[in-house]
């Protein structure tokens, strides 16, 4: 399989894959380059370039694996541009686990990448030193809230000063989450089930979501309780580690995984319910992440089986269809980590369908990524916006006034897209609407 080495000189070892986190060779060669993934890939669809396709990225992995090429900047660039939406996995007839291949590849890239660039530093700080720690994150968020509330934000935006001084900072500012007035916090509290208890569920609080989407998290808890679930929020839980593994910090991700496994396993629950699609898919794949950890591999497998996405959990319960009606036209954007990684597409739609009075309209290309991709929206700003732009074009054809989705990254990205275009629409979680309908039952 290995052809003549490229160039005269041998490739330096740190340009090659090495160590336990190298992409699994047997997985790489499951790809028979049939090309079925091409039309599923948002970056390929935008560029028409094979270099920006799943098949192309795997070919580059194979070539590095075969030591035909090294991980040069240009090779890394193609991997960096992957949003990791994993739509290609769904399209693949050969069962290539692209998600774990790109994750392992990014870990290799991380090892080789020269640190020092300001952006890399900032990412490292926020991921390794802020996200895992709710306290530090909360502190940052408070500052952000003050910034937004004080009116300084609108001043800064109007003046355009930031854009002129530091365009990349301006990008980050633009996609800064709209900080909510209340935080959700996991303090070990238990929320009683309404009526007879049908299940006991632990809820993942997460990192960004409880701060940015505090009220929405509260809504999730209310919806669970309304459906007869006793809900616990274990206190010592941490961030799921999804964003870390996304950019190749696998060891950090493993550390968080072990902690969460311990914490949730002690909670004595029927299920660990996750309201964020990205976190849900990460936690369902803890077993893979910890497969080589003799102490945790078995525990991780058991834990992964307990993890349920909120929509999946509600439909399996099954949830009580609301009686009160909502008057709106709604559409749904599949969150990649729900549709592609967890293969859940019908549950959110069934929930939306169950709400009386609401008109559901299918979003064209609903399964195509919105461009959020965790930190992608910051690290690959230009491309992220290109992908978002196509998404907004599709959204405008629906005439919907509510755009629903299932993941905080998608929510923020879509909110940004709608604000940019000045569209008269709101972006909500599916569970927000269900909660609203339940609450109307009571008031009406």
């Amino acid at each position: 399989m290995v052809e003549a080495k490229h160039g005269e000189a041998r490739i330096a070892p740190d340009f090659l894959f090495s160590g336990p986190d190298a992409p699994e060779e047997s997985d790489l060669y499951k790809c028979v380059h049939c090309g079925f993934c091409l039309q599923a890939c948002p970056t390929y669809l935008e560029t028409g370039l094979e270099t920006e396709s799943p098949r192309g990225r795997i070919a580059l992995m194979k070539a590095v694996n075969e030591e035909r090429i090294g991980m040069t900047d240009s090779v890394i660039r193609h991997w960096d541009l992957c949003i990791q939406c994993r739509a290609c996995e769904v399209a693949c007839p050969s069962g290539v686990p692209y998600g774990s291949l790109i994750e392992a590849t990014m870990a290799q890239v991380e090892r080789r990448r020269k640190p020092g660039a300001l952006a890399r530093f900032a990412e490292n700080v926020s991921l390794n030193h802020v996200l895992p720690h709710q306290g530090r994150l909360k502190l940052l968020m408070s500052a952000a809230k003050a910034y937004q509330r004080s009116g300084a934000q609108s001043l800064v935006r109007k003046s355009g000063v930031l854009r002129r001084l530091a365009p990349s900072l301006a990008d980050m500012e633009a996609s800064m989450p709209r900080v909510s007035s209340t935080y959700f916090s996991a303090k070990g509290q238990t929320v009683e089930a309404e009526g007879e208890a049908r299940a006991r569920a632990a809820i993942l609080s997460g990192c960004v979501m409880p701060l940015v989407n505090g009220p929405e998290m509260d809504a999730v808890v209310r919806v669970l309780a309304r459906n007869g679930c006793e809900v616990v929020a274990p206190e010592r839980q941490v961030c799921c580690g999804a964003i870390h593994s996304h950019v190749g910090y696998l060891d950090a991700a493993r550390k968080m995984a072990r902690r969460n496994i311990d914490v949730f396993s002690e909670a004595g629950v029927d299920a660990v319910v996750v309201a964020s699609a990205g976190c849900g898919s990460r936690m369902k794949e803890y077993a893979h992440l910890l497969r080589d950890d003799p102490q945790y591999s078995e525990k991780a497998r058991r834990f992964s089986d307990m993890v349920k996405d909120i929509h999946e959990f509600l439909v399996e319960l099954p949830f009580v269809p609301p009686r009160a009606a909502l008057d709106c036209r709604v559409t749904y954007q599949d969150s990649c980590h729900l549709a592609n990684a967890q293969r859940i597409t019908s549950a959110p739609r069934r929930i939306l369908d169950s709400i009386p009075g609401m008109e559901f309209v299918e979003l064209p290309n609903a399964g195509r990524c919105c461009g959020a991709g965790g930190t992608y929206t910051i690290t690959e700003r230009e491309f992220s916006l290109r992908v978002l732009n196509s998404k907004m074009d599709d959204f405008e054809t629906t005439g919907a006034d509510v755009l629903t989705t299932a993941n905080p990254g998608c929510l923020m990205q879509l909110q940004y897209g709608i604000a940019e275009r000045g569209l008269p629409a709101q972006v909500k979680y599916v569970t927000d609407l269900l909660d609203e309908a339940y609450r109307r039952e009571r008031s009406g």
Binding site: F36, E50, A59
Partner: protein, 483 residues
């Protein structure tokens, strides 16, 4: 090759834009393959956006003596888009516009990079569709379909690509741009359109395609018949065709495929199923009812274990699920498979399949049979494990033996994947030197100067007729993927 790439690259960049010229060695790697096993690195890749740009690129390459390989999505299974001799790969994936849809006359003009399924999706609002439906239709381009004259499960009733293309705008080797055929259903002179379709990019580069669209059928019904014996299922296929019924599609799977599919998608086939037939009939509601009844009658003559029918799209999808999931599922039976693509007369299906079974028993390698049975197109898949020494060679040898068998019973080397690089050494099984010489002279007729996709279709061996060079030839063959 003494090429001044330092001068060629800027010239190409000036035509298509710097972003769309790929020349870094590590980037070229993603253009060295298509859906087949063959690989070869191009010298440079350009992505033109118009016929004029294609023409300019062709002129640049022609001046430099650089071979030109046109490429669609790279889903082909015979190496057609692999730059065997290096050179300029023209990837048409930016030319994705549907330029015109004439609903009344049911004609559309599209660019070659339009994805097959996208056209049908785009015209579905008018109740129309584009009939050729290769299994890769979600990814493959219409330009690629033209190059390989692609078929699909439904070509049994509706024909292959050539039956649905009215005209082509092409770029010749001298850069000249010309339409052959047009939007009309007939045109005077030699059928250049027909000769370019299926020529695997060796005669001209296609830059626009005028296609005929069909009206979506009023009704569709799918029938699934399960038999305990493969022979009964094959006999039922001949019985259906012989009874003068031409359904839209007849697909067949054998026992190995069934067990793989059952494990993967739980299609719910009954215990003891040795073969499954899937028959789809479409058209007027009355015609569908009457034909399915007739098909059922024929199937009942061959002792089926079970027959199910469905008209509802969701139910039909369930019946198809086993068939659609089967190739992905073959991995459950063995780590590798070699997929062969031959066609035999439908009346020879029973005999061919039983001889393939014989080959399997004699060699000890399991062979799973998946067939577009309605048109006699076989896809036997030889299961093997490349990690075992000698396994790959043995599988390739069996593949060659199956192709020889197909030709022996009056069939052909390729039903739908094309000759390309994969099967060029087998051409002498079907054609004499004189036959191939006549074919080969098409290239000078198009004054290609042999720059378009050189080294394809025809055997490269010094002596074409030496079929016993099979051992070397077989090395070229390899696993295809999807049908």
């Amino acid at each position: 090759m003494t090429l001044d790439m330092n001068s060629i690259i800027p010239q190409l960049q000036a035509v298509v834009g710097a972003e769309y010229v790929i020349h870094k060695p590590e980037d070229l790697i993603v253009f060295e393959y298509d859906g087949s096993v063959d690989r070869a690195l191009p010298t440079v890749v350009a992505l033109p956006d118009s016929a004029e740009q294609v023409s300019e690129c062709v002129k640049i390459a022609e001046r430099s003596g650089l071979p030109i390989v046109a490429r669609g999505a790279g889903t082909g299974l015979s190496g057609g888009a692999v730059a065997e001799h290096g050179g300029l790969v023209l990837a048409m994936t930016r030319m994705t516009r549907i330029l015109e849809v004439d609903v009344e006359n049911r004609v559309a003009i599209v660019e070659p990079g339009v994805v097959n399924l996208h056209l049908s999706e785009q015209v579905s609002k008018h109740g129309l569709y584009f009939a050729p439906d290769p299994s890769s239709q979600r990814a493959c381009t219409i330009g690629g379909n033209v190059a390989e004259n692609s078929g699909g499960p439904h070509c049994l009733a509706y024909g292959v690509t050539t039956n649905h293309v009215l005209g082509l705008e092409v770029v010749y080797a001298d850069g000249g741009i010309e339409w052959v055929g047009g939007i009309h259903r007939e045109s005077p002179g030699f059928d250049l359109r027909g000769i370019i379709i299926g020529s695997e990019g060796t005669l001209a580069i296609v830059t626009k395609i005028a296609v005929r669209l069909l009206r979506q059928p009023e009704a569709v019904k799918t029938l699934l018949a399960v038999f305990s014996e493969l022979d009964d299922a094959s006999a039922a296929v001949s019985g259906i065709i012989g009874a003068g019924i031409v359904p839209a599609a007849i697909e067949m799977m054998d026992e190995l495929c069934i067990s793989a599919a059952e494990a993967a998608v739980h299609a719910g086939y009954p215990e003891g199923a040795g073969a499954v037939l899937l028959v789809e009939v479409d058209g007027l509601a009355e015609a569908v009812e009457e034909e399915v009844a007739a098909v059922e009658e024929v199937c009942n003559l061959y002792d089926p274990l079970e027959i199910r029918t469905a008209t509802d799209p969701v139910e039909r999808e369930k019946l198809w699920s086993g068939r659609k999931g089967v190739l992905g599922a073959l991995g459950r039976l063995a780590p590798n498979y070699l997929l062969v693509d031959g066609t035999v007369p439908r009346t020879r299906l029973v005999e061919t399949l039983s001889r393939i079974k014989g080959i399997s028993e004699r060699t000890g390698y399991p062979i799973a049979n998946l067939l577009h049975a309605g048109d006699g197109n076989l896809h036997p898949s030889v299961l093997f494990d490349e990690r075992k020494p000698g396994d790959t060679e043995a599988a390739l040898k069996i593949g060659g033996e199956i192709l020889e068998l197909c030709v022996e019973v009056g069939g052909v080397l390729s039903g739908e994947h094309g000759i390309g690089l994969e099967k060029q050494e087998y051409m002498p099984l079907m054609f004499t030197d004189a036959d191939m010489d006549v074919m080969a002279r098409l290239r000078p007729s198009f004054s290609t100067n042999n720059i378009f996709n050189p080294g394809k279709i025809f055997p490269t061996g010094a002596s074409c007729s030496d079929i016993r060079q099979m051992a070397a030839a077989i090395q070229r063959a390899g696993p295809g993927a999807y049908v």
